[in-house]
Amino acid sequence: MVATSKPDSDNAIDIRDAAKTYKGKVQALRGIEMRVHRGEVFGLLGPNGAGKSTLVKILMTVIRPTRVEGTVLGRRVGEKSTLANVGYLPEHHKFPDYLTGGQALDYYGALAGVPRAARQKRSAELLELVGMTDWRKKKVGGYSKGMRQRLGIAQALMNDPDLVLLDEPTDGVDPVGRRDIRNVLTELKSRGKTVFVNSHLLSELEMVCDRVAILVQGVVASQGTIDELTTQDRRYDIELTDAIPPDAVARLRAVLPADVEDRLAEAKHKGLPAPEAIVLEGRTLRVATSQADDVQAVLRELLQRGAVIASVRPVRPSLEDLFMRAVTDPATGEAFKPGASRETGKKGGAQ
């Protein structure tokens, strides 16, 4: 492990070149660069085997990285003392069945170094927060999956951490529970905590995350706010009552402001997927811009040509669209096979 870095007050997590190769030369991570700002809710997405849990486990010292540089809460990655200020909910976590909910919180709170008096007060508050007060004295062995998950979240908060890493927090939780967990995340954010969520449930993340990163086969495919990530894919769909001839599209492209084409060319130049400026699909014209002003010239041109416009609507891709695009092999148009290693791929990701 290589790493020393000066404390960075802006970033709760600031890592570069994080790599992990397991036995059998399985490359789980192949040079991750990622920054999580203090006080934000950050979502980590990716298909199975993308390396999400490996990355979280490296940050929590559960797995030793092949190499990593950077800091967590301003201290070198892997430094145990940092964990006093970090909360963690592992995926598929398992509490000892012989403990009651209250005992489990007390035990893990004590391991986090929380004094006895503080543990008692904190466990009561947290059980209340996750709606488990009535189950405090019941053995964990009798808990449902969702209840264990709620207890797990309470456990992760026992030391009142500055940074909370939650690996699949809504796994096995019913819709009401998921809403409750979302509320907890929002509450944490409002208290200035940094939350790092690793999840498959894209709609959940979309509702709470300030920024996301998409991990595919051990590399960051894209990273940023949802707005930033969707800018390239935003468009206006213009639906016409009758079809127009295909050659009309060239004329329409000509009336588009030049900066639209420039933006798309720049994206292509950066290797990012960028659509054509205007595409005709049946009776629908798709204009690759997020600016209403840019569409006005196209609309005028269409009206001058006598076209009848049925509707104009802005389209913003969902997180799922982004995700699907990231996990789809552009060469084959099919999703990458689950698994960690891939022969070629991008390294790192945009900030």
């Binding site: 559960v62 398992k94 012989y98 893990y108 391991l111 456990q155």
Partner: protein, 390 residues
């Protein structure tokens, strides 16, 4: 913070063992064994169980004092059988899941993500297993101390040596159990390998004991045979001289110089000399041929824990050399009643020398090298735990 974390790990281990019920079952069985001790006694006729007396030759207050009886009972039965066999098996069954459960997927991440070093977590967890055994032995020894004090009027503080000795004994097996539990994450595999390892140690000890006993017996037989040959040579020589003198005319018998018979003449005069010489040579050959095997076993034992010697160590503390000699004499007398005089002497001497040889093994060799084994295995397990990905 360290105290808070360590206390939490100990408390959790107690809860885990408590949940398994075996902790209390072992405690209850220990109580029953001590209660059995309290019922046993020794009087001038034999061994008493409550009000019933069982007459056993050589086991009564004429041969063994009440103090010696109870101390031997505690050391041989209480420690030798109960603590180092039955309670150890129960202890292993109880504590074997501690490490595999701890490193189980989904459980270990919760602990490793806390601000506590891996080495400290692992060593503290190991310590909880040893504390389980220490607690069991302490309760058993404390109760035995009271029973022996009340029944025999002897308040023998030396009994408490059983606590470190049995814990050391347990640690020989427990470190292997913990290592296998860590490597395989399987309680069954950990228990199975530990029992096999224990069986291997048992075989090694049995081999050591058998080789030592046969070798010593052969040496004693050879020594005694040589002495017998010497005596027979001298006796036969005298007889031959007397015979030759008797064959001289009566007036020369007193004054004549009779030459000493040659060895050939003596051997021709007593065929048992040659037979005994052959026996001596056979025994010497046997002792010589066994010596390298025994050395090999001892070298192997040096690198491994010495379970039987560790238990025997308590006898050294509790039973003095004089008491042991007395017991050996009593045993010799008992054997004498059953066997011929010649066999008795050699067997008793061989047994005495064998016991002495075992007793003469140094504390460092017995405990030092065994604990070195524990240290090496524990260090390897800890290193493995600190380097492993979970």
């Amino acid at each position: 913070m360290i105290l808070t974390q360590t206390t939490a790990i100990f408390l959790d281990a107690y809860r885990e063992l408590n949940a398994k019920k075996l902790f209390w079952i072992t405690m209850l069985l220990s109580g029953l064994v001590v209660a059995f001790f309290a019922l046993l006694g020794i009087n001038e006729r034999g061994v008493s169980i409550a009000t019933y007396t069982m007459e056993i030759p050589g086991v009564n207050t004429s041969f063994v004092s009440q103090e010696g009886f109870y101390k031997t009972l505690f050391s041989s039965f209480g420690v030798g059988i109960w603590l180092t066999w039955i309670a150890t098996i129960l202890g292993l069954v109880s504590t074997a899941p501690l490490i595999p459960d701890f490193v189980a997927s989904g459980s270990v991440e919760l602990t490793l993500s806390k601000p506590i070093s891996r080495a400290r977590i692992f060593l503290t967890k190991l310590l909880t297993g040893l504390l389980f055994m220490a607690l069991q032995v302490s309760v058993f020894t404390g109760a035995s101390f009271l029973v022996i004090g009340l029944r025999a009027g002897v308040w023998e503080l030396g009994l408490f040596w059983a606590i470190p000795i049995v814990v050391a004994f347990f640690s020989y097996l427990y470190c292997v159990c913990a290592l296998v539990g860590l490597l395989t994450r399987s309680t069954i595999a950990a228990l199975l390998v530990t029992i096999l390892f224990w069986f291997f140690l048992f075989l090694l000890n049995a081999g050591d004991g058998a080789l030592l006993a046969i070798k010593t017996q052969a040496e004693v037989e050879a020594e005694r045979g040589s002495a017998r040959v010497e005596r027979m040579v001298q006796g036969t020589s005298r007889e031959l001289v007397a015979l030759r003198r008797s064959q001289l005319p009566e007036d020369e018998r007193e004054t004549a110089e009779i030459p000493e018979p040659t060895l050939e003449e003596i051997e021709a005069g007593n065929l048992r000399i040659t037979q005994t010489r052959e026996e001596v040579a056979r025994n010497e050959r046997l002792a010589r041929s066994l010596a390298p095997w025994h050395r090999g076993v001892l070298i192997a034992k040096t690198a491994l824990p010495k379970t039987s010697e560790t238990t025997e160590f308590l006898n050294r503390v509790l039973i003095s050399q004089a008491e042991l000699d007395q017991a050996m004499d009593n045993q010799a007398k008992a054997i004498q009643e059953r066997m011929s005089e010649r066999d008795t002497g050699a067997e008793a001497e061989a047994q005495r020398r064998t016991q002495q040889a075992v007793r003469d093994r140094s504390t460092f060799w017995v405990l030092g090298t065994s604990l070195t084994f524990v240290f090496v295995v524990t260090a390897f397990a800890t290193w493995r735990f600190t380097r492993r990905d979970f």
